[in-house]
């Protein structure tokens, strides 16, 4: 008897799914992606419109597929910047480690996920293609407020007495 009840219960279970739809008709209906969606990485600028990237190569070092290649150079005012910045999206796995490694929040993963190409070479994005105008996820963050060349102009902080740090 229990078997029969289960037998009909399974029919009822599937019938209840009739009005529900989880699938989207994709090109017409766009999915609602979360803000932390890991899509194509971009290079952001800070609020002043300056490039955030300081060409430290931490992203390139941490990248598990080694798809990031960049060359750093010095600007006339002494700041570092990326002279060239290439990401090969044919290799990128959108793990987001570059974003986590970046000390200046320059490289960030955007929600863009649909960018198919018919040539492998077209997957190599240059710096012009990667750089966006906006600040991305952290609009107010400026790396040079906290570190970098400006810090030399600030008065040195008083030395820390180690014993005062005890719990």
């Amino acid at each position: 008897m229990k078997l029969w009840r289960r037998f009909f219960a399974s029919f009822w279970t599937t019938l209840r799914q009739l009005p529900r739809r989880d699938t989207l008709s994709y090109p017409e209906q766009q999915p609602q992606l979360s803000r932390r969606w890991r899509g194509r990485p971009v290079l952001t600028r800070d609020a002043d419109g300056e490039e955030r990237c300081v060409a430290c190569e931490l992203c390139s070092a941490v990248c598990p597929t080694q798809c990031i290649a960049l060359e750093g150079a010095d600007r006339p005012d002494g700041r570092r910047f990326a002279e060239s910045f290439r990401i090969n999206f044919a290799r990128c796995i959108y793990c987001g480690l570059c974003e986590e490694a970046c000390p200046t929040l320059a490289i960030q993963l955007s929600p863009e996920f649909a960018f198919a190409q018919s040539e492998r070479g077209d997957f190599v994005y240059s710096k012009e293609a990667l750089l966006i105008d906006g600040p991305g996820k952290h609009p107010d963050y400026r790396y040079y407020d906290h570190a970098g060349v400006r810090i030399r102009a600030l008065p040195p902080a008083p030395a820390v007495e180690p014993r005062s740090n005890l719990p």
């Binding site: 799914q17 989880d22 008709s25």
Partner: protein
């Protein structure tokens, strides 16, 4: 002239059946999708009906490939046997009184049973000639399953024949045109429906295919239109069993307002829909459970049903 017309009409029937099989593949995908929170193929044509045509073109355009290790002739012949045996069954199936190729033939039901046995040969030879262990497992399962479930199927039909006094499908349909025979044969209907689904080797009885265990079962090594023939056989077999259930138990073509063939098609479509629904709902049983059910539950039930029917027919006479 008359012969040419007849050949043309036969070709038209054949094409209609092939089209029906293609449409059913599409319809099943849509219905399953609806029951599984999905949308299914909905791009090509209205509601995605064009998907059936696209699938056919894809299958036909594929490479005709025979594995080096396969037994060439059996490998090539098996899908044809499966498709042909399923197609031939429709010759004796009446759509309405008089609308059939051989619906009045006095051994129509026997022919159907024989063809369903022939269908197993196609499946078995296909699996065996592939020279692949998964295909062989699938084929062995198919044979064991078909043998186990053909007995209750035949016995359930025997009780019907006893009531209707005819082996022609038209005679059987006419016997049920008053009160549907399911009223006299509830147990027989149950046995026939379960054994019928097992005959078509569809879920939940698709142990011969069993994708999760046997790759694709007996047609593991098949591709292109040869695979398409197996598919064709499966879906035409489904239509055949559904039409038989409608014809034998659900009162055939009788019904108010609509013409006879409409009722027949409507009832068949309803049974097919229930088959699709069942596929979405039920899990596949274990192999020993399947055989256990066939021999220890279904067969005694079928024999009991036959005995009761015979006693009742002797006592009160046939309807």
């Amino acid at each position: 002239m008359l012969i040419a017309l007849q050949v043309l009409a036969m070709l038209a029937t054949l094409l209609a059946l092939l089209g029906l099989a293609g449409f059913l593949v599409f319809a099943e995908r849509r219905v399953l999708a609806l029951l599984q929170n999905r949308l299914g193929p909905n791009r090509l044509g209205p509601f995605g009906v064009g998907q059936a045509l696209a699938d056919a073109i894809k299958l036909l355009a594929k490479e005709d490939f025979v594995p080096r290790f396969a037994n060439n002739w059996l490998y090539r012949g098996a899908p044809v046997l499966v498709a042909a045996s399923a197609l031939a069954g429709f010759a004796v199936l009446p759509l309405a009184p008089g609308v059939s190729w051989a619906g009045t033939w006095n051994i129509g039901l026997l022919l159907l049973l024989a063809l369903s046995s022939l269908h197993v040969y196609g499946v078995f030879l296909g699996g065996w000639s592939s020279n692949n262990k998964f295909a062989l497992y699938g084929a062995i399962r198919a044979v064991a399953q078909l043998i186990s479930y053909e007995l209750p199927l035949g016995l359930a039909l025997l009780a019907l024949v006893l009531l209707a006094g005819s082996l022609s499908l038209q005679g059987l349909g006419q016997a049920g045109s008053g009160l549907p025979l399911i009223v006299y044969q509830p147990l027989g209907f149950l046995v026939f429906a379960i054994a019928g689904v097992a005959e078509t080797q569809r879920l939940p009885f698709d142990l011969a295919e069993a994708e999760s265990e046997l790759v694709a079962g007996y047609h593991t090594e098949y591709g292109g239109m040869r695979f398409g023939f197996f598919f064709l056989g499966e879906y035409l077999g489904l239509v055949l069993i559904a039409a038989l259930i409608a014809l034998l138990y659900l009162g055939a073509w009788s019904g108010p307002f609509l013409p006879a063939c409409c009722w027949m098609l409507l009832k068949t479509a309803l049974v097919i829909l229930v088959f699709f629904w069942m596929r979405a709902s039920l899990p596949r049983p274990r192999y020993d459970q399947l055989l256990h059910w066939g021999w220890n539950a279904l067969l005694p039930l079928a024999i009991l049903n036959l005995l009761l029917t015979a006693l009742a027919a002797a006592w009160w006479g046939t309807p």
